[in-house]
């Protein structure tokens, strides 16, 4: 243990603790910008500098570990002077038009500028002579260099968490900037649209492409029927934007708010999550049968999940040779979109051309996915607009809805039914767990052999998880699976996905089924979720998801009554002709840079 004083208060902390962490222990806040709990230390913004008595230079508290008998001052004259200068320097290079900025009100730079009352600009305005550009090429992400403070959080996110390296530092000195490969537009590079960089950008330099006006206009158009679907992870995070603590479930209030916003039908992506399990589970069993019984060498095992569009774009760029291994199932969002403009339209007797399908997603990659040319199987663009959790919160605020005071309401009765299995899609390991709950029962006729259906080995925040179950007690038609050890792996965060796929490629790991979610923690940590994000917040959201699951009357996808109904009335059977037409898709190999 190390003893030191901070602002003359003694504190004892473990060796290796940074000055910043030691100060937090004493409830002394030191401002930071480049520091982020999810990322390695950069130490480049320098706003966290503190004085170490006896040292000439100030120390970056996020980067410097404590030493015995250190005397730290976090608010001395020297520190204040330096910190104020640094904030003013950042602002002098920054297009600070806060009132017009998308991040106004949720911006770490703005908060700091506010705290330090940097009223009249001290330094020369450097912005006019810089030729900043705004990149709006991506359907998911906007990159505005005039708002960038070069903290490199995005670069570290993209490299360390996602293993994508779509963003890097270019040039030096006064021309240093964050750039894509050869400064190409974002939609032409390997970017997966995951939005993790957005979640960690402290300013308005990286934000989602928002579709607020488009959605409002659809709502205002009386000739349109605006149907909205909400993804599982939205309900455990939306509250954070609207006054609740992380981990609060606000499903009922969200449904009420959506009605008040004027959506004509309020539906649940959970419904198609359950449907995904039916399709994907059947697909897995079919592939296994082909491999084990028919000895078909062409069948691609392991099969990987396909619900995360960030993962899809990643594998298209990075491991295109494994595209046959990806489940052909569309993501729940896209299944929903295809059904809204067919099945739902028929049932409700609405002309599909008058339906505007909107989805509320924890995800920015879903914005890109909705615009893929493959996603028009209904004859129209299946999903018209994708809003993030954050955008929904903005709409709720704009409409003057007092969210905290809303009474809970229920989803519409049709395509609004869901199960606990669908809810856990929002957490890493959730699709695996939901699939196992159903597949096991198809094969054995019995419930999965885990207490209270909780398949705990696939849960948790470890980057790569492995689980295996030996199948026993099969029904006669599945007897070929008797005694087979089903091997599964789960990765979340694309850096982990890369590691896992490389192990598969190198023959170091053998699996039957792999779940990949592009974002840390799964969709609950998605790039469209409330900012900030950190391990603690993601943990709380995960707990909320599992609590929601436990509280559901039905917790297995195949028991969703509306799912049974749609097969009976419309789809026929899993992997049937109609399913293929509407619920399945194909992928395309893309360049590696």
């Amino acid at each position: 243990m190390i003893n030191l004083t901070i602002n003359n208060i003694p504190v004892t902390v473990e060796e290796g603790t940074t000055i910043l962490a030691a100060a937090r222990k004493l409830n002394i806040r030191i401002p930071t910008l480049c520091y982020h709990e999810d990322l390695c230390i950069a130490g480049n913004c320098r706003v966290c500098v503190v004085e170490q008595v006896g040292m000439r230079t100030l120390q970056a508290s996020c980067a410097v570990p404590v030493r015995e008998n250190m005397q730290i001052l976090t608010n001395s004259m020297k520190v204040r002077q330096a910190r104020k200068n640094i904030i003013e320097l950042l602002l002098s290079e920054h297009n600070a038009d806060c009132t017009k900025c998308y991040k106004n009100g949720n911006c770490e730079l703005q908060d700091l500028a506010n705290e330090y009352r940097t009223g009249n600009q001290m330094y020369l305005d450097l912005v006019p002579e810089k030729h900043f550009t705004i990149d709006q090429s991506s359907p998911s992400i906007m990159k505005d260099d005039s708002k960038c403070i070069r903290c490199q959080r995005c670069v570290r996110t993209c490299a360390e968490l996602q293993g994508v390296n779509a963003l890097a530092v270019a040039n030096k000195g006064h021309e240093m900037k964050i750039s894509s490969f050869y400064d190409k537009p974002m939609h032409e590079v390997v970017c997966t649209n995951c939005g993790q960089c957005i979640n960690r950008c402290p300013t308005g330099a990286l934000v989602e492409r928002n579709y607020l006006d488009e959605v409002w206009n659809a709502i205002y158009d009386p000739s349109k029927h605006v149907a909205v679907q909400t993804a599982p992870a939205v309900r455990v995070a939306l509250g954070e934007e609207l006054g609740f603590d992380p981990g609060e479930r606000v499903t009922g209030k969200m449904v009420a708010a959506l009605r008040r916003l004027g959506f004509n039908s309020v539906l649940d992506t959970d419904f198609t999550a359950d449907l995904t399990i039916m399709e994907e589970g059947t697909e897995l069993l079919t592939r296994l049968k082909k491999a084990l019984v028919d000895n078909d060498e062409k069948v691609a095992i392991p099969m990987t999940t396909s619900c995360s569009p960030g993962w899809i774009k990643f594998i298209e760029h990075t491991f295109p040779e494994y595209l046959p291994n990806v489940s052909t199932c569309k993501s729940p969002q896209q299944m929903f979109g295809a059904l809204v403009k067919t099945y739902y339209a028929q049932r409700k007797n609405i002309n599909p051309k008058d339906i505007v399908s909107v989805s509320i997603m924890p995800c920015t990659a879903k914005k890109y996915e909705a615009q893929r040319p493959e996603m028009r199987d209904s004859g129209y663009q299946d999903v018209d607009y994708v809003l993030t959790t954050r955008e929904l919160a903005i709409m709720i605020k704009q409409a003057g809805i007092e969210f905290m005071k809303l009474e809970d309401e229920e989803y519409d009765r049709f395509m609004g039914d869901s199960t606990g299995a669908a809810v856990i899609f929002g957490a890493t390991g959730g699709v695996m767990e939901a699939a196992l709950r159903t597949a096991w029962e198809i094969v054995t006729g019995k419930e999965v052999p885990f207490e209270n259906l909780n398949i705990t080995p696939v849960r948790g925040m470890e980057g790569i998880k492995e689980a295996s179950v030996t199948i026993a007690g099969t029904k006669p038609e599945w007897s070929f699976l008797e005694g087979v050890e089903l091997k599964c792996a789960i990765a979340h965060g694309l850096a982990n996905a890369r590691e896992l796929m490389q192990a598969v490629k190198d023959g170091k790991a053998v699996y039957h089924f792999i779940e990949v979610m592009a974002c840390p923690g799964g969709c609950l940590g998605g790039g469209g979720q409330p900012i900030p994000t950190n391990p603690e917040i993601r943990q709380k959201r995960a707990e909320a998801i599992y609590a929601e699951d436990e509280g559901m009357p039905i917790r297995k996808s195949h028991e969703n009554p509306e799912v049974a109904q749609i097969y009976q009335e419309f789809l026929g059977e899993p992997l049937g002709h109609k399913s293929h037409e509407l619920l399945h898709t194909h992928y395309k190999a893309r360049k590696r840079y």
Partner: protein, 387 residues
């Protein structure tokens, strides 16, 4: 402070003694004894920062690591400095010997010369000498091999941690310190980074003995130093002088009779005006220098001098940290604005404060030293900046 008389000496370019005999002599000694002698000799790094070389080697020797590395910093990017080039051209053997000694002492088996990109023309000869040396060392029973690496052409890559990043194939951005290279250097292993001239000095100490070496220089600045002398001078070029002379003596010897200021230590050093020549000692007790001495006579515009330095820094900053990236731009644009009457002369006082912030808060030595030239020129030649 006592200053030495200016005295020219000749150790560095003196022909080398038999290098294998020398290495064998050191190998027959206790390693810790040699380290103590090196510390006692008072040798401080010749690359600018002036860290005690013996202590650096001691720390690296004590550091835990399955591998250790020795790196010779031959990036020599400071404008007006060309003494490392001269050493590598004329007595590269001594550098290689110094690196081998270091490898032996700290327990490293590999050494690299990180050669400035512009010095590529030296490479064929160096490579040849290294190959020969690798053979000789093998025969002498020392497991140490030398290799050549090229710089990326950026000034900041002379900073030791940026140099290491660049050697690892990454962008040349300085790292956070601590940890220091002696414990976490190249590939995360304990690494000694020393300047070209520093390695030569260790060989001289091994040759003549630390007691003899200690007779040169002053208490705080032991030994001799190569100076790259340029500007408005009677004699231009590389000169080997004993450390610790006064700037007055220096100017008398090298100036053109009309010297108004000397920039000691290049762009990152200090500008000393005539009135302070007498009291200024060249050495660690006064103004240390990596070797660059630039002499200005009365025809020079100090505004232009400062403008050039700041322009250099705003280009050569790696750009990662705020005080340095934006500060350099503000200092440059700031003096221009004052010159053009867009800001009052008092704005210079704000800029001096900013330069102080850059000194305290920048991540590496580059940003920390921009204030040296800025403050010393603005304080001593304020009228020239304003009018």
């Amino acid at each position: 402070m006592e200053s030495n008389k200016l005295s020219r000496v000749d150790y560095i370019f003196r022909p080398e003694s038999n290098r294998i005999d020398l290495i064998k002599k050191i190998m027959s000694k206790d390693k810790d004894d040699f380290i103590l002698e090196l510390i006692d000799s008072g040798l401080k790094g010749r690359g600018g920062a002036g860290f005690l070389t013996g202590l650096k080697w001691k720390l690296a020797k004590e550091a835990q690591g399955d591998k250790k590395y020795v790196i010779c910093n031959a990036d020599e990017g400071e404008p007006g400095t060309f003494k490392d080039r001269e050493i590598l051209d004329r007595v590269a053997g001594k550098v290689l010997t110094g690196m081998a000694l270091c490898g032996y002492i700290v327990g490293a088996n590999e050494g690299f010369i990180y050669l400035r990109a512009e010095y590529r023309f030296l490479a064929p000869k160096l490579q040849q000498m290294m190959d020969a040396m690798n053979q000789e060392l093998k025969t002498a029973g020392l497991d140490f091999t030398l290799a050549l690496r090229f710089g990326s052409g950026a000034y900041v890559c002379g900073e030791e941690t940026a140099l290491i990043e660049s050697m690892e194939g990454k962008r040349g951005e300085p790292r956070n310190k601590p940890p220091f290279p002696v414990t976490d250097g190249y590939l995360g292993k304990p690494t000694v980074v020393n300047n070209v001239e520093t390695f030569v000095n260790t060989v001289i100490i091994a040759e003549i003995g630390y007691q003899e070496y200690k007779k040169l220089g002053t208490d705080s600045s032991r030994g001799m130093k190569l100076f790259s002398i340029s500007g408005d001078c009677a004699k231009e070029g590389i000169f080997e002088l004993e450390l610790g002379m006064s700037l007055a003596d220096f100017v008398e010897e090298f100036g053109d009779g009309d010297t108004k200021a000397v920039q000691v230590g290049g762009a990152s050093g200090f500008c000393v005006p005539r009135k302070k020549f007498k009291e200024t000692i060249i050495g660690f007790e006064g103004i240390p220098t990596g070797g660059s001495m630039k002499i200005f006579n009365s025809s020079r515009s100090m505004y232009n001098v400062l403008h050039n330095y700041l322009d250099f820094f705003q280009e050569e900053s790696c750009g990662q940290c705020t005080p340095c990236r934006v500060g350099c731009q503000q200092l440059l644009k700031g003096i221009m604005a004052v010159k053009r009457r867009e800001r009052p002369a008092t704005y210079l006082d704000e800029l001096v404060k900013l330069a102080e912030t850059m000194r305290y808060a920048s991540k590496c030595g580059l940003g920390q030293s921009v204030g040296n030239a800025f403050v010393s020129i603005v304080e001593n030649f304020r009228e020239e900046i304003v009018y």
